[in-house]
């Protein structure tokens, strides 16, 4: 097994007096997909935000390819999130005023690629995900599944090392959700990237290579099988 891409050690995070993370260890390697499950308010999203460098943990450390990222400045973490990570949310991450292709091209453009050049790979990604011919549509003119595939295209267009997904199929019906999840797992595997999925859905968790469960800010690795039920 190759060395882990992203590791975290003894992560702690408090919101006021509430403990969101009470000392969590975590590791994921390339090609692997990890489902993070647990009841609402258990600290799943906080773990995701700490791993992705959105927020800083109060204690503990996060490393990407062995380099600490939790101690980087906001600017450096922003740049990291833009170039090495990718995000997929339940809904809403697409800019409603941008056509699909520009939504996908946006991360490349933020990295300095001129629009004309960025649109090429964006259209390619869209075509790969079965959205050829819909490049000009705005998010409001796409179905829920289509919009989520556009979001996926945007996540993958930068060839990220790690993809973070927070209830990526939560707003979709079962069949569409399954389809989107399939595409997500397949393309992430093809890229050799790691996938971290926060989900309530045991069926989604079951499709990942590994599942961890968080309760009250602590890891419950022993109950994996129960989560797989």
């Amino acid at each position: 097994m190759s060395a882990p891409m992203l590791t975290a050690h003894a992560l702690r995070k408090h919101y006021g007096t509430a403990v969101a993370l009470g000392g969590v260890d975590f590791a994921v390697t390339g090609g692997e997909s990890v489902a993070v499950t647990g009841p609402s308010g258990s600290g799943k999203s906080t773990l995701l935000h700490c791993l992705a460098g959105v927020i800083r943990p109060d204690e503990g450390e996060v490393r990407l390819f062995g380099e600490r990222i939790d101690s980087l400045s906001e600017r450096e973490r922003s740049s990291l999130r833009r170039t090495r990570f990718a995000f997929l949310f339940q809904f809403g991450q697409l800019l409603p005023e941008l056509p699909a292709e520009e939504n996908v091209a946006l991360p490349l453009m933020l990295g300095g690629t001129p629009r004309r050049k960025a649109l090429g790979p964006a259209r390619e990604r869209l075509a790969q995900l079965g959205l050829a011919g819909k490049e000009d549509r705005r998010p409001g003119e796409l179905s829920g599944g289509e919009a989520q595939r556009v979001a996926l295209a945007r996540a993958l267009v930068v060839n990220p090392a790690v993809v973070f997904a927070d209830e990526p199929t939560g707003a979709l019906d079962r069949a569409t959700g399954d389809q989107v999840m399939g595409v997500l797992l397949q393309t992430v595997a093809e890229l050799g990237a790691a996938l971290v999925v926060v989900t309530h859905d045991p069926l989604i968790a079951a499709r990942c290579t590994r599942t961890i469960e968080i309760r009250d800010g602590l890891l419950h690795t022993g109950e994996m099988t129960e989560a797989r039920r």
Partner: protein
């Protein structure tokens, strides 16, 4: 229903309260400014009314004689009222305790102040009397007015000599001081005030109406949700109306109270040479409730219009379907109004009241039509930018302009409307010629042709070598077919007022003037026009800055979710700031510039372009440009902390 609306507002969280508060704040500013705009018209009426006693109607067999004259002292103009009693029934004039006895000079407080330390021979000698008292406020247009009431004998030459200057009243018998005509300068100021009213009221009203959309925009999603769970359109409209109107009423009350409290401050604005009596600004107090009722009504109507989309198709708003493009018909409406305005302004001469009123209405309509055309222009700019954008900030800005041109327009509308008005005002001539100082001054006075020789030699004797006296014949200033006799006296500048006093006392009729004295009144009117222009520009730019600030905060609130997710995926705030700057400054540069030019082009045939030839026009345009740009940039900076807070809000359940 009201209880539910109030609950929704209260429980909507900090953000909902913030947007409702913004609406209330914007409405308060609207109410304050509209109260001011309406009140200033009544204030002019109040002033004019207090000048009526100076020109009462002639009455045969009256109890007193009245005449008036315009005196000068240095660079000031003094209104003089000469009064002589004919019998004991003569009533005391307003502002005086009793009818002035011969030899009594009553002066306004401002004149008393001016004359402090002035030797009698330089001024008071002209009236051959002593100061007996102070003229009360009820007889003065304003507290800065220079006025003297002089009591004389009925056979005093000043009470028998005709005045040749039409602005003065020749001796007439009167039996009271009521029913007279107001000072003619208010015939100039009052229409000017109405023009200023239109200039200010339209942008202020546009701003107030836009404020309603703030609350409505924020409610879009939630109202659509209410529709989806089965609320009827009527219920949704009512809920939003109640919420918006609650905010509007609170804002209106606050704005009106603020206006009442700040009248002493507004009273300091100097017009016609002096500040206002605070009571003048309350002259239209009866209209205050009308304005206070009209503002929430206007806000409510605007809210209903803004709600149409939600009510007709809740799904559409909830799911954000592509919006329909704005038609070029908007441009056509502006063009039609502009053509009507241009045509009418060429058709007839000024002076006709109805014509002027129609022209004013059309001018107001033009400003309103500009507000209609703005979103269309924003969309066109968006199209061009979207086609040419290379970087992410420009692309985001262009798409935003294309997607919601109306919202983008709201951010710059105030400044664009202000630019249009500034462009119009810059044309108005406001320059003031410098009064030259020379080694000698020549005073001239029109005298009765029949006694010209005699008066000239009497003047020469009275002056006793102080000045060189000559007698001329000139064409009458007011009737070119007539000639008049004019006595001139040339004297070293240092002796001017001394000589003037002797001449005034000797010649009795029109007080002697320098050629430059005639420009004092026109300069004073120009100065008032300048102050008026500054007030109008201050109001429209204050409105512009407020609307830019509020819409900037509103746009962050509207898109907080998008901003948060963009931040999560690593978008630097710098890019979002740049995009937000571009989506306001680019349309501002194009539309603002076009508005200034349109304002100038449309008004040039009517006003001329004299204002551009002196410094004032260029100054107005320069300052307009600077303030407008600063307002929009400042508005963006104002909302930056909110944007930062919004972006960094990663609490588990934002909102």
């Amino acid at each position: 229903m009201t209880a539910l609306a109030w609950r929704l507002t209260r429980l909507g969280g900090r953000r909902a309260l913030l947007s409702t508060g913004l609406t209330a704040f914007a409405v308060a500013a609207t109410a304050l400014l509209l109260q001011f705009v309406v009140a200033c018209n009544f204030a002019f009426v109040e002033r004019a009314d207090r000048t009526e006693w100076r020109e009462p109607p002639a009455a045969e067999g009256g109890s007193a004689i009245l005449a008036s004259a315009i005196d000068y002292y240095g660079d000031d103009q003094i209104t003089r009222i000469d009064l002589a009693r004919l019998d004991d029934d003569a009533p005391a004039p307003p502002g005086l305790d009793a009818f002035p006895a011969p030899g009594e000079v009553w002066v306004s407080p401002a004149l008393a102040e001016l004359l402090e330390g002035v030797p009698d021979e330089d001024f008071l000698a002209r009236y051959d009397g002593a100061i007996a008292g102070t003229v009360g406020a009820e007889a003065l247009a304003h507290e800065g007015e220079l006025l003297a009431v002089v009591g004389r004998e009925a056979d005093d030459p000043a009470m028998t000599t005709e005045r040749s200057d039409g602005d003065m009243v020749s001796p007439r018998t009167i039996d009271g001081f009521s029913g007279g005509e107001a000072s003619m300068v208010y015939g100039v100021y009052r229409p000017a005030a109405i023009v200023a009213t239109v200039l200010m009221a339209v942008p202020v009203a546009v701003f107030g109406a836009a404020a309603a959309r703030l609350t409505v925009a924020r409610r879009d999603e939630r109202l659509a949700a209410l529709r989806l769970i089965g609320a009827t359109p009527a219920q949704v409209v009512r809920l939003t109306l109640i919420e918006t109107v609650l905010a509007a009423v609170a804002g209106t009350i606050a704005g009106t109270l603020l206006w009442m409290a700040s009248t002493p401050l507004f009273a300091r604005i100097p017009i016609d040479g002096g500040p206002w009596y605070v009571a003048d600004l309350w002259g239209g107090a009866a209209w205050m409730p009308v304005v206070a009722a009209a503002v929430p009504l206007m806000v409510a109507v605007s809210a209903v219009v803004g709600l149409r989309g939600v009510v007709i198709s809740p799904l559409g708003v909830a799911r954000r379907v592509r919006r329909k493009g704005l038609g070029a018909i908007r441009l056509a409406v502006f063009a039609a109004v502009a053509v009507a305005f241009l045509t009418l302004s060429q058709l007839l001469g000024s002076g006709d009241m109805i014509f002027t009123a129609v022209l004013l209405v059309l001018f107001g309509a033009m400003i309103a039509a500009l507000n209609l055309t703005g979103p269309w222009a924003v969309q066109q700019i968006g199209k061009i930018l979207a086609g040419t954008a290379r970087g992410p900030a420009r692309m985001l800005a262009a798409r935003r302009l294309l997607d919601d041109p109306k919202a983008a327009w709201r951010g710059v509308a105030g400044v664009a409307l202000a630019g249009f008005i500034a462009g119009s005002i810059a044309l108005v001539p406001m320059g003031q010629p410098e009064l030259e100082t020379t080694a000698t001054e020549t005073l001239s006075a029109v005298v009765d042709s029949g006694h010209a020789e005699e008066l000239a030699s009497r003047a020469e004797a009275a002056l006793d070598g102080l000045a060189e006296v000559e007698l001329h014949e000139r064409t009458d200033r007011f009737d070119e077919s007539e000639t008049v006799a004019v006595v001139t006296a040339t004297t070293p500048t240092g002796e001017l007022e001394h000589v003037r006093s002797i001449l005034t006392a000797t010649l009795a009729g029109d007080p002697p003037q320098r050629a430059t004295d005639q420009t004092i009144l026109s300069n004073q009117i120009m100065a008032s026009v300048r102050v008026g222009a500054i007030v109008v520009l201050a109001v429209v730019f204050a409105t512009a800055a407020l609307s830019a600030g509020i819409s900037s905060i509103g746009s962050v609130l509207d898109r907080r979710k998008t901003y948060r997710l963009l931040h999560l995926s690593g978008t630097p705030q710098r890019v979002l700031d740049a995009a937000r700057r571009q989506e306001t400054l680019l349309p501002l540069a194009v539309i603002g510039g076009a508005s200034v030019l349109a304002g100038m082009a449309l008004n040039a045939p009517l006003i001329g372009s004299q204002g551009l030839q002196d410094a004032s026009g260029a100054l107005i345009l320069g300052v307009t440009l600077a303030i407008g740009t600063a307002a929009v940039i400042g508005a963006g900076a104002l909302s930056r902390p909110l944007l930062r807070a919004t972006m960094n809000d990663v609490s588990p359940r934002p909102d």
